[in-house]
């Protein structure tokens, strides 16, 4: 094998390995969705798989493994602001008093046709 062919082979090896894991994770999350597991377990599996896929793509395909600290910081900054947005919004929704006689969150399906629409 020529040195160039060896170089090209080495170039493919790592990314193909990561791609194979990504495909296996997709198959695993699909299988979990079609299984008889509980909805909470399934949801946890789906989110865990997404998190693993995002990390694999970020670290290996997007080169964060070898990037400088500033680039890693820029990559994490988006997630950080996203986390703030989620935490603040869910703080709001989770802390709203249930104003319906059904004891359900405002505008939930359980209220339809049974409860007054609360003033928000």
């Amino acid at each position: 094998m020529s040195p160039q062919a060896r170089r090209i082979l080495a170039m493919w090896r790592g990314p193909v390995f990561v791609w194979a894991i990504l495909v296996l994770l997709t198959v695993a999350t699909f299988a979990a969705a079609d299984s008889s597991l509980g909805i909470v377990t399934k949801t946890a599996i789906h989110f865990a798989v997404v998190a693993m896929q995002v990390v694999l793509i970020g670290v290996f395909f997007m080169n964060l493994r070898t990037s400088r600290p500033l680039l890693r910081l820029a990559a994490v900054a988006g997630l950080y602001w996203l986390a703030i947005m989620f935490v603040l919004t869910f703080n709001d929704y989770a802390s709203r008093p249930s104003s319906s006689p059904c004891g359900q969150p405002a505008f939930s399906d359980a209220n339809v046709g049974q409860c007054e629409s609360p003033v928000r």
């Binding site: 990504l22 699909f30 079609d34 008889s36 399934k42 997404v50 969150p105």
Partner: protein, 209 residues
């Protein structure tokens, strides 16, 4: 090609230029993440308020198309990674081939998505007065489905366009093979992939068995 040919104003050296290009695209990707983040947040809030409606609505998504597209896009990310590395190594033919395959896989994704949209429309899954699913809040899911997958498809179309432009410029030797644009476009492509794997879990998986 020499480093001088790659160097652009105002950068004092090529390393600094590459660093700035990477930082610029990562900053842009962070804003893109927040853009999609607003949609993810809307999804999360409405799903927490209407869990059963979202399960019923998600059951109607065409998971075969969704899974096929996930595999297509993951493969395109692999090929794009190889294209970027081949460009760094100075392997011209491999770079061009991989860029073309990446664009072809992106196009295949859009074709599959087209078939999926046609099936969704034939089932009447466009939110409106004659929406076939109950409860009415299933329309929230389908509204988000159309917006999120539509915006993603626009991003992918832009990605295909820039990959093809880069391919043309490299093959005509208008820009050097080791241009920082390769990494910039590659990172954008991977973000489109990251968004899709998230959409796959949110839209296609919750309503199964």
């Amino acid at each position: 090609m020499s480093d001088v040919a790659l160097l652009r104003e105002p950068w004092p050296n090529l390393e600094r230029q590459r660093y700035a290009a990477s930082f610029g695209i990562w900053t842009f990707l962070a804003t893109e993440l927040l853009f999609f983040g607003g949609l993810f947040l809307s999804y999360a809030v409405y799903r927490s308020l209407h869990p059963e409606a979202f399960r019923v609505a998600s059951h109607e998504t065409a998971i075969a198309y969704g899974t096929t597209n996930t595999l297509i896009l993951l493969t395109s990310s692999l090929i794009m990674t190889i294209a970027e590395r081949a460009a760094v190594e100075g392997l011209r033919r491999l770079t061009i081939t991989c860029l073309l395959v990446t664009a072809a896989l992106g196009t295949a994704f859009l074709v599959v998505k087209g078939f999926e949209y046609a099936e969704d429309i034939s089932k009447g899954l466009l939110p409106g007065p004659d929406f076939p699913l109950r409860p009415a809040s299933t329309q929230l899911f389908w509204g988000l489905y159309w917006i999120m997958t539509g915006v993603h498809a626009i991003h992918l179309t832009v990605g295909i366009g820039v990959v093809l432009v880069l391919t043309a410029l490299i093959s005509r030797a208008t820009i050097p093979l080791q241009t920082p644009a390769s990494e910039v476009i590659s990172l954008y492509w991977h973000l489109v992939d990251v968004i899709w794997v998230t959409l796959y879990a949110l839209l296609y998986l919750p309503g199964r068995k």
